[in-house]
């Protein structure tokens, strides 16, 4: 380093920051003061609990908001189905956790379906021929034929699936049984015909759908990359091996430590939802990059479809997802004392005179912090992160430098969806599962983004934490009441005031800082 770039002193930096960001600093100070005043009205032993609950709500909100923010920043796409991906993530997590047999049965056809799609470039010559017919309907027809054939093949696969209309087989019953400590296997299914035909039909149907999708934009080399071929072979081999060794796999998963299975369920859910995210980007978003309004409509509609699909498969009523046993212990030695007892197996521990739930308030917050740090490092330190930062500004130039931006877009979309799924799995045991859980969280996440600055990743974290803590403060006051001099009874904020208060915070912040706390001015 030469003298020209010598480090300025702390005082210099502060005065520079003051002239540049005066408004932000004042707003941050005012918000912080308001939070302190809000907490000050509570009993001292409530502060800590309320803050921890706020951080937990904030962590879940952040997991949804961060993906939204990355996708919005890089691709200018507001994915209104993001809340539903969160919701579906929770349901898939529940399934992998409580119904390992069904999960194993589902994996095989899904992996087999992925195999032809991984050979994307291979379909370009065919796609070009379809495109040459001159009508987009030809492509859509192939997609429809592919989906139809896929559905037919799907019905041939053996699936141990529950019947939500039978109480003994409903997710509610399974959750209750798990809490008592039992996990009853469903009867294993059998192929609805020759297995070979089912597998081949699924491969062919997926290939037809892939050609249809490729035909919408068939430019590019017809040679699949080595990675694509590798992924295709791995997916096919994995799908076939799962079919072959189903029984052993299911037995192993049933015998597994339930807490470990919970983590495994999280991983499965994140991977599957990431793949769905990638598929959404390719099939729904990519053809519409020049039409932002259509993207809003299609993601909104896709979200509604997911909600109905979940109602169809998992049944209507809400149900809970049992907590992993490592965070659900009661009885001797519980509650634990201090943070050192986090992994003692107790469901609660005493900290600063308050009783904190280990899963809800400590584990979730911990994962939120890990994701925040991990994704920040990814963005700041890795080549992918560099490409994302550059692509936010000028994706055409990034592509002209030799980067396949489409793959990066797909990857970021998949990553955003995966983060939402992680949030869903984590939220399942604390807020319960319902088809509407995604819509509520999407609203919180959008408000958090607006507060933090739409495309700023740290902004998403700050906004989410503010929204979470504010919500929890209002909820707490709803229980204790605020004594107001002109009212005889203390004023108790009703539940609808919880989201309303976050909207109010957003309005006030946006009036002073139209780009949010950490956002950059729009170009």
């Amino acid at each position: 380093m030469t003298t020209a770039t010598a480090k300025p002193s702390l005082g210099d930096r502060w005065s520079k920051a003051w002239t540049r960001d005066r408004r932000r600093i004042i707003v941050a100070a005012v918000v912080a003061a308001l939070l302190v005043i809000g907490l000050g009205g509570l009993d001292p032993e409530d502060w800590f609990v309320t803050i921890m609950r706020g951080l937990a709500t904030g962590a879940i909100t952040f997991l949804v908001a961060s993906g939204l923010s990355l996708i919005l920043g890089l691709m200018d796409v507001l994915n209104l189905a993001h809340g539903e991906l969160f919701m579906l993530g929770a349901y898939l997590g529940w399934t992998a956790y409580i119904r390992p047999d069904t999960t194993v049965d589902l994996l095989a056809p899904i992996l087999i379906t992925i195999a032809p799609f991984a050979l994307w470039a291979l379909w370009r010559p065919l796609g070009r021929k379809v495109a040459a017919l001159g009508s987009r309907w030809a492509g859509w027809l192939l997609v429809a034929v592919g989906l139809g054939g896929w559905w037919w093949a799907w019905r041939l696969f053996p699936l141990a699936i529950w019947d939500p209309s039978v109480y003994a087989e409903s997710p509610i019953t399974f959750s209750l049984a798990f809490d008592i400590g039992t996990l009853v296997p469903l009867p294993a299914g059998t192929f609805g015909g020759p297995a070979l035909i089912a597998v081949l039909a699924m491969l062919v149907a997926a290939s037809i759908a892939a050609v249809g999708l490729v035909s919408f934009n068939p430019t590019g080399s017809p040679r699949p990359s080595a990675k694509g071929i590798g992924a295709s072979i791995v997916a096919l081999a994995a799908g076939l091996s799962i079919l072959a060794w189903r029984e052993g796999l299911v037995e192993g998963l049933f015998a597994m430590n339930p807490t470990l299975r919970f983590f495994l369920a999280g991983i499965v859910s994140v991977i599957v939802i990431s793949a769905i995210g990638a598929g959404v980007e390719v099939a729904l978003i990519r053809p519409l990059y020049d039409r932002p309004i259509y993207q809003l409509m299609i993601t909104l509609g896709f979200g509604f479809i997911l909600i109905e699909l979940v109602r169809e498969v998992w049944g209507r009523p809400e149900f809970t997802m049992p907590k992993p046993p490592a965070f659900n212990g009661i009885g001797e030695g519980c509650p634990g004392q201090g943070i050192g007892d986090l992994f003692s197996g107790c469901s609660t521990i005493e900290m600063f005179g308050a009783r904190i739930r280990t899963y809800n308030e400590l584990f979730i917050v911990g994962i939120g912090i890990i994701v925040l740090v991990g994704v920040s490092l990814l963005i700041k330190r890795t080549r992918i992160g560099m490409v994302i930062r550059a692509g936010v500004q000028d994706r055409h130039m990034v592509e002209a430098l030799g980067v396949n931006v489409r793959v990066v877009f797909m990857g970021v979309f998949a990553m955003g969806a995966g983060l939402a799924a992680l949030g869903g799995v984590l939220a399942g045991p604390s807020i319960g599962l319902s088809p509407e859980m995604g819509g509520r969280l999407l609203l919180s996440a959008l408000i958090a983004l607006a507060i933090g600055g739409l495309t700023s990743f740290p902004g998403a974290a700050v906004g989410a934490v503010l929204v979470g803590i504010l919500q929890q403060i209002i909820i707490r006051y709803g229980q204790t009441g605020i004594p107001l001099p002109w009212l005889e009874e203390p004023f108790k904020p009703s539940p609808p005031l919880v989201p309303a208060s976050t909207v109010l915070l957003m309005i006030v912040i946006l009036l002073v800082l139209p780009n949010g706390l950490l956002g950059k001015a729009e170009h």
């Binding site: 080549r383 560099m386 430098l401």
Partner: protein, 233 residues
């Protein structure tokens, strides 16, 4: 045989028919200057070669291979570097990262960094600074340097002298000359003095068509062509 050739290239942007038949040849090792008034289609021609605007007719051939159907990243991977008119320096990346992002293979930057720093000593000093803090001249240097990171066989350089001080223009010309000793250059340049001192060949565009071309040495003495296609009005 020429390294890059365009035949009857047509490009539409939205409903506008911008390129209506561009022919041009760039021989290996040459510097070719593309000249013409504002709006003649010079920048669009470069973007069409890069695949940034989809070509609607004609052929683009690079090193004997038709590249008109390829996506921008595939075109770039064939060894074509692009220095755009607005420089497109990434503001959120440091100077060093602005170079690193152009790597096509690991080690590209390590291989080329000494050459880049010889050409533009300023960039070595500025390596850690964010892209936004550069002056116009430094941004132009960085944009050219970025195209030198991977092993490119052809550089498309759009208006390298635009808005720069005369001293910096001299430095830029010097740099382009030394690049051209082993890289072919297709240059868009409004400043005729700069173009005539750098290029061996020229092509003139008017209203989306290539209307004249040949050896730069002949054009310098051809006042009639200069006045007709490049003069004011």
């Amino acid at each position: 045989m020429s390294l890059l050739s365009l035949e009857a290239v047509n490009t539409h942007i939205g409903q506008y028919h911008i390129l209506q038949g561009v022919d041009l040849e760039v021989g290996a090792g040459e510097i070719v200057a593309m000249l013409g008034r504002n709006g003649a289609g010079k920048t669009t021609t470069l973007k069409t070669i890069m695949g940034l605007h989809p070509r609607t007719g004609g052929t683009v051939t690079f090193d004997g291979e038709e590249i008109g159907e390829l996506r921008p990243y595939e075109v770039a991977s064939l060894g074509i570097g692009y220095v755009p008119e607005n420089r497109a320096i990434f503001a959120d990346l440091s100077v060093e990262e602005n170079l690193r992002i152009a790597e096509r293979e690991r080690g590209d930057l390590a291989r080329s960094i000494d050459f880049i720093h010889d050409l533009f000593p300023d960039l070595a000093r500025l390596a850690e600074l964010p892209g936004t803090s550069l002056s116009g001249g430094q941004q132009q240097m960085l944009a050219v340097a970025r195209a030198l990171v991977p092993e490119n066989r052809l550089l498309l350089i759009d208006e390298p002298s635009e808005g720069l001080a005369p001293v910096i223009i001299e430095q830029m010309m010097e740099a382009i000359r030394s690049i051209s000793s082993d890289t072919t250059v297709l240059l868009v340049e409004q400043n005729f003095v700069v173009a005539s001192r750098l290029a061996q060949q020229y092509v003139i565009l008017e209203e989306g068509r290539s209307v004249a071309g040949g050896a730069m040495a002949d054009l310098v003495d051809d006042d009639e062509t200069i006045n007709r296609y490049l003069g004011a009005g």
